[in-house]
Subunit: 116 residues, 2 copies
DNA sequence: TCACAATGATACGGAACCGAAACGGTCGCG
DNA sequence: CGCGACCGTTTCGGTTCCGTATCATTGTGA
């Protein structure tokens, strides 16, 4: 049985989590960066710049720059593909997994506190 | 009975909605702008710049600028308070309500398609 | 009345991000 | 070998956002 939300729950959840993110985080991720990070961690590898750009419907430099930023934060890692050295394989990191685990906790906690 | 999500559902939902937002919208809102918009529409009025700044834990100029941007998009409106003319009351608009209604539809649709 | 507090807006310098275009390194194929 | 295609990165000019500090307007209370 699928997860059924009513409009109030849907917006309420989005509101609560957004608010939590804005309030807590010193430097939060862009919506695009967040989408990239989630794509990397929730979809089976391998992930490439080109593939992410196509999936998110953005240009390649957007991906490169987002990986620069999140790489500096330790949330992702980049490795050259030895089969085809033109490719770059985006790797997950422990810090990235932890970051998303916390995000998941926030979503779960806010969902639980939602009026129903 | 509260809304119980498991970690996979929580992150999957956030992933799907973020992806949908990034893919579709030419001009998407900042996380802060989104939080402000949801606060205005989901919490009973009146809303002031100062109040929003305190709730979101950001400085007042952040609110003013976000209202400038979203005001230009027609998502919110500003009216001087006649009781205390120092205050500015932030008003909802039809366009803003429609915008959030669509967002809610996306959340609901993605939740329904979630594996469970 | 008149200093002072409060509110929202603005000025300013700096940082991050964007899209388009160009670039270097790599592969594939004739 | 050579040339074109492909991949990720970088450069460029421009826009947006940020934080701090300051401003104009309005209310408050001695």
């Amino acid at each position: 049985m699928p997860l059924e939300l009513n409009p109030s729950q849907a917006l309420g959840l989005w509101h609560a989590v957004s608010l939590s993110q804005v309030r807590s985080e010193a430097h939060d991720l862009t919506l695009r960066q967040m989408a990239i990070l989630l794509q990397i961690y929730l979809v089976p590898p391998p992930h490439t710049v080109r593939g992410l750009a196509a999936t998110l419907n953005v240009t390649k430099p957007v991906i490169t720059r987002a990986l620069d930023t999140m790489g500096a934060m330790g949330l992702v890692d980049r490795v050259r593909d030895d089969q085809d050295r033109r490719n770059v394989i985006i790797k997950r990191t422990v810090a990235g997994a932890l970051y998303l685990e916390k995000l998941g906790d926030v979503v779960i906690a806010e969902a639980r506190q939602l009026p129903y």
